[in-house]
Amino acid sequence: MAEAAAEEKPVKRILQTVGFDARFPNTNQTRHCFQSYIDYHKCVNAKGEDFAPCKQFFRAYKSLCPKREAGKFPASLEP
């Protein structure tokens, strides 16, 4: 497996996630998830689904909020 990996050209991937947010400097990130979720839906309601800046909130809540058991979030909004 190591040889195969050496022969292939190394793929450059960029890993990205929500950075530090000065509103949530603590260990407790519950509000960070909550606020991003609310902000995303406010943003979508105000500007529409295709408004690119909303994606930032979407990515934030997607990477922070835990996956819920079925039924807690609408299926379409499942993080």
Binding site: V18, F20, T27, T30
Partner: protein, 195 residues
């Protein structure tokens, strides 16, 4: 993995142990800068601890039944020592809390409860430490862990990464690690689940 701890301690590339060994009394091998800080703080404090413990180990005050001065000395100087320990440890504590620029987020969710059938166990195995699906994360990458729980209190802990954080239902706790070398790092729930 389960080789004798002392043998492992003396062999040259000794940084292999990422699971507890039988009769282990020290730390597991360091794999992240945070844990490096914790270990070096502990070792520096141990220097003064050994100094104090050996010094007052019965030679000095064996004749003394009462003495105001010596009482004052051995009340005030430990207080000063505690203050001296507090500063570096607060510094470390608040440094460990910072999660500034992580490259990826790992969501950790605690559940009750898993069991291993006894027929699957063999002597020398890691038993409950091992899992069937291991989490793979990249090295030299700043990783954020978002820790929560679905039912009762748990605690996400990986000793060689210096991670130990409560998993609380309804709350997302954040911690981070930067793994400096490859390895299989073992950890266990470090809370009496639900207590």
């Amino acid at each position: 993995m389960c080789s004798n701890y002392l043998v492992r301690l003396n062999s040259t590339p000794s940084i292999l142990l990422d699971a507890p060994a039988p009769w282990q009394i020290g730390f597991q091998d360091v794999a992240s800068p945070g844990f490096e800080g914790i270990v070096s703080l502990h070792d520096s404090i141990m220097f003064y601890l050994i100094l104090i413990l050996v010094t007052k180990s019965g030679i000095v005050y064996k004749y003394l039944n009462h003495g105001t001065l010596i009482e004052l000395i051995w009340t005030i100087s430990p207080a000063l020592v505690l203050i001296a320990i507090a500063f570096p440890s607060f510094k470390l504590l608040y440094t460990l809390d910072e999660v500034i620029d992580p490259a990826l987020t790992v969501k950790v969710t605690g559940h009750q409860c898993y069991m291993v059938p006894e027929s699957d166990l063999e002597e020398g195995q890691l038993r409950l430490l091992d899992v069937d699906n291991r989490l793979m994360v990249p090295v030299n990458t700043h990783i954020r862990f978002i820790v929560t729980s679905t039912d009762v209190l748990h605690d996400f802990a990986v000793p060689s990464l210096g991670i130990k954080i409560d998993a609380t239902p309804g709350r997302l706790n954040q911690t981070s690690a930067l793994i400096e070398r490859t390895g299989v790092f073992y950890g266990q729930c470090s809370e009496l689940c639900g207590v």
